[in-house]
Symmetry: D2
Subunit: 370 residues, 4 copies
């Protein structure tokens, strides 16, 4: 079975998430990186490509050029990974989809609703796969939690508490990662709510299978002069009556990357935290709390499916991310009808979530229908 | 120094919180229990008094009788502890205050605003001490956290996350403890929000020194047929711009008594959970997170003031509660100008908090001014 | 039912464990402190007694005088608590036993084997109760663990890991608590091994029901000039084939009072740590690990017997200690045939343990039979 | 820079550690797997090679054939990974070293001292690199801990507590992983002590820089009929006076892969556990305990050197393992004089450790000099 050929847009030297995508693509051995439009700076493009073992003639100056050239090659890329800032997703996504190339795109889907819809239209038109790297859904215990909810271990869900707390933007900060995230022209109207709130929202929906119906949100920019929110509190009402709260903050001092999900139903409840992702607690009402470990006793089929090591040998962020790439490969190869990868539907839901939060907050946290 | 004489209203056989008050009163040796109107059932009154070593002639059939008789005795009680359900606080509180006897009252202050105001008026008129047992403020690390906030260790507070999750009412439940708590005639209009939400609210305000200005609340009764909320989500706006979220639930399966407070400011943040109350994490922005232990390295004056054992020898719920009794004794003896005990002001704030939550929820979680 | 009358030897101003005993005696309401020989310093004796509400004529200058006087009173003490340094246990213990007064004595039993045997002989001769405050056996989860082992939840025990780590003696230290503990004339030949190692050893035997047969020990005094061990490592062989390791250290920087017990059998295993004593993990082989909480789901009869608050309302060190006093009261009143309090047998076992460790270490950690 | 070419001996279908090595080799992009003698079964060899994308002509029937053929090719492998059971390390290791090919070998070094010495001799003679995958040394926080010890953050080390507890062999078990591990002809004389005890021993020495001088060990085979130890307790004496205890068990019910290291010195102490490898606690004597996170605040140069993601994005077992492969590549390329990879010296130390434990235990846990 040959490796799939991957191209990359963005992710040149100095980038963070590009490197993550590359490792994720390597871990399970399904992909080889062969082409890239890695930077808008020609010099950096060249140097980055050399470092990554990309042939010089496949180190492109622009994504437009790359889409055209790769589509024309017999050994052209099977898929492209788009790892640029939010406002730079739609351009390459549409270009590659139009060129008949599958797309793996970083989240959130886009900086604006218009961009998001343009991507959705291109997905629809092209019939190509579109995978959105809401990587936290790749953690085995989140797959297991989803299966446990679906098979009724918790009964009907009543309450969802999800939060994503960081502190790296607690002060005015400059640098490649921070700059575009606090610039609404690049990040979109949402700051924390877009960058990390969408992860939290996606994960809550992924695991519970619930759809949010309405929300009320209070967005704040605590750091003086900041133009996007750095702390967002949301109340959620799901279809069917479940309630939720979502908190996203980049100013919560003492938190590195604290994505945490807690779900409570009529019969049971669980709690999970991303920073120690190999354990989750689960309680059946009236019984002792259990510590479920990745691939450990009590693991479900979905919980075992994308693990690489036995219990006690911790898998981490990169392995969860790799599962998205493994399932993208399976989708493209046509041999995994059960792949759980987030796609355009989840992408649009995220953009609607951001827009609803921004609108609600502008209207004194009034309820907004999603 | 003689022991202070304590009477008790409520707390007969089968009660929970009455026993807690009695142990709390004993721990530091300031009090002796000498009188009681322990039950509305004469037989239980007699049996309970005998069990507790209360003389037969001071085991009263009603609080009215008790207030009158004790006020008339040369060796009458110094204070009375009121440990009845919420709707039974105001009657005895007013009676004993009017009789010139100090009152220690369980929370929340009352079942209705009218009752609360009647108590407040009696406090004002009598000039007697009124102590409300928001016992969680008695934990040494909460005293320490308050001092750290006050002296600026966290800088200006931005975000407060407070929650109080239990699961004992996840199903329809009957029994002495449950019955009155889910009966609005006895508990008041608030269920979880009154029973435990007020603790969470009080603790957040106690530690941060902030005052809430407005709130929006979503109250649910998830258990079919339940007449009061068993899950409440609140967004808070504090004077000065800080934001908060409060969650109180008695249907969160897997939670026993999970009161948890997290506070984040410009310069630092801390996290504390009641179920392991001898540790708290504290982070100065950009520095490693610290684990602060009760009476351990880094303990502040306030953190050390009401501890009884060295670090590593865990104090618990009863010791925190005992501190309220120790400070009540100090107040009554007139020798503690620095006592931190919650009183009528905090009691009224709690009742306003419940009323505002109920009103907001009735108005589709609109913002209500406190 | 009248309160039992308690006297105290030692525990004057500045003492640590005396105050702990007094709170422990108060918590469950069984005792009143009415007499004491609190200090060898007459002035401190007087001041301490006044502070504690002990009548002047029962504040004695010596334990000999106290034993004689109290035995002669119609309202004399029922029991005496001995809270002096180790080398001062035997004198008062024998005196009070000979006077027909029950004894509650701090651990370890004595500073020397001769003293220990003198106490044992007096216990035997007098027929009075002798309770040794190995207070950690009073924690409800340790009672529960003992019951779980006894009823076979773990199957035959294979491995016991017990440790007790502190750091307060990591440097040369002076003060009331430190001085006698590092002086072999007062503490006995064991330092850490006697002061805390005996607690660890006692708890392991209490919970498992095992008896140690042989041990090999390596004792060190890491702080220059120290005359007793401040770090001890022991290998244990139990009757029946189980193996164990015991570590006691007072120089393990970062540990406050880290007593921890782990027991593994053919069918299950559990882990417990004193600093958060309300939880224990338990695993049946091949099943998910459970978190058992004090008085929570899965609590056994023994686990529930000496609790005062529901699950989630943490009990601590003082409550565990109080259980020893409550059971001492029950023993003396003759109404608790099931009391689990450690006594002279456990005291002698502790002294033999210290002696065996010291002997083994002196012989290059050779195996010594207990 | 071209990828290095890797061959593999062992690791065919059904193997565990072979798959781990392959992922580890892929993560940082330094290696490509091009050849293998994957199984002694020709059919499985063929199928495994096809699955792994190894060309049919480089899927060898024996390691001897493979060493000869690859050495002869212009594009022959740069290094071979040996992932067979212990008794099958020496044969291929010597063959490839003799053929001038670098060796990456799983631990422990061999099943017998003779085999170990044969490998050491071949390393010496060939001048080729020999890397032993004591992968736990690849965790960033273990690198950081080593640096902190070396620069004196803990002062002189006094006490080392290291343990490695599992439970998968708590009952008689059969299967590919279990069978050879409990067969002394394949595993060597040590069972748990060799399989996991050597990891613990290696890690303790790696981090502290200490050398063990003498040890006393008690080995048990608790499962009836088992021919090698499944539980081992060791007391260690290090050169310079530090003391240690090492516990390795495969019957400790409730433990998955619980490698844990605690080190205490004159001035500080730390604790780390492999199952949540991104955090470590560190205490300077007299100051609050700190939680140090991988790549978080307070990270040292060595702690940052081999990380791939920011703090809060957990790295796991595979990333730590990958660091060994990354450093092996750097060594082979000649551009990393600072690589920390364990090699033949550590391999021999491990075999001596096993032999000493077995000898000590046979002599009633007498002290044995290493």
């Amino acid at each position: 079975m040959r490796k799939l050929r991957l191209g990359m847009v963005g992710g040149g030297q100095g980038a963070f998430i590009g490197g993550v995508h590359r490792i994720a693509a390597r871990i399970d051995g399904d992909w080889e990186l062969v082409a890239g439009a890695l930077s808008s700076d020609p010099e950096r493009t060249r140097a980055s490509a050399a470092e990554l073992g990309i042939a010089a003639d496949r180190a492109y100056g622009s994504y437009e050029e790359m889409a055209q050239a790769e589509a024309a090659r017999a050994d052209g890329i099977d898929a492209v990974a788009i790892v640029t800032p939010n406002h730079m997703h739609a351009g390459p996504a549409v270009a590659f989809l139009n060129a008949g190339i599958h797309v793996i795109c970083d989240k959130p889907l886009a900086a604006t609703m218009e961009q998001a819809e343009a991507i959705a239209e291109a997905v629809q038109r092209s019939g190509k796969h579109f995978i959105l790297t809401h990587n936290y859904t790749g953690y085995p215990l989140m797959r297991q939690a989803r299966e446990m909810v679906a098979r009724g271990d918790l009964g009907a869900i009543r309450v969802v508490q999800v939060e994503y707390a960081q502190d790296w933007l607690a002060e005015e900060t400059h640098g490649k990662q921070a700059d575009w995230r606090v610039d609404p022209a690049k990040s979109g109207a949402g700051g924390a709510v877009g960058d990390i709130g969408t992860h939290a929202y996606n994960l809550a929906c992924f695991v519970t299978g619930l759809e949010a119906e309405r929300l009320a949100a209070d967005l704040d920019a605590f750091v003086p002069g900041r133009k996007v929110d750095d702390n967002t509190q949301v109340m959620l009402r799901f279809k069917g009556g479940a309630k939720g709260a979502l908190w996203a903050s980049q100013v919560a001092v003492g938190n590195e990357n604290a994505l945490r999900l807690r779900v409570y139903g009529e019969k049971g409840g669980f709690e999970w935290a991303q920073e120690n992702p190999n354990v989750m607690t689960f309680t059946r009402f009236g019984q002792p709390k259990q510590i479920l470990t990745r691939a450990g006793a009590g693991a479900t089929e979905a919980g075992l499916r994308n693990t690489r090591t036995p219990g006690g040998h911790p898998e981490g962020y990169l392995e969860g991310f790799a599962t998205i790439y493994a399932e993208a490969a399976a989708l493209i190869r046509g041999n995994d009808p059960d792949a759980h990868v987030p796609g355009i539907k989840e992408g649009l839901a995220g953009i609607r979530f951001i827009a609803a939060c921004v609108e609600s907050s502008a209207r004194d946290a009034a309820w907004v229908t999603l």
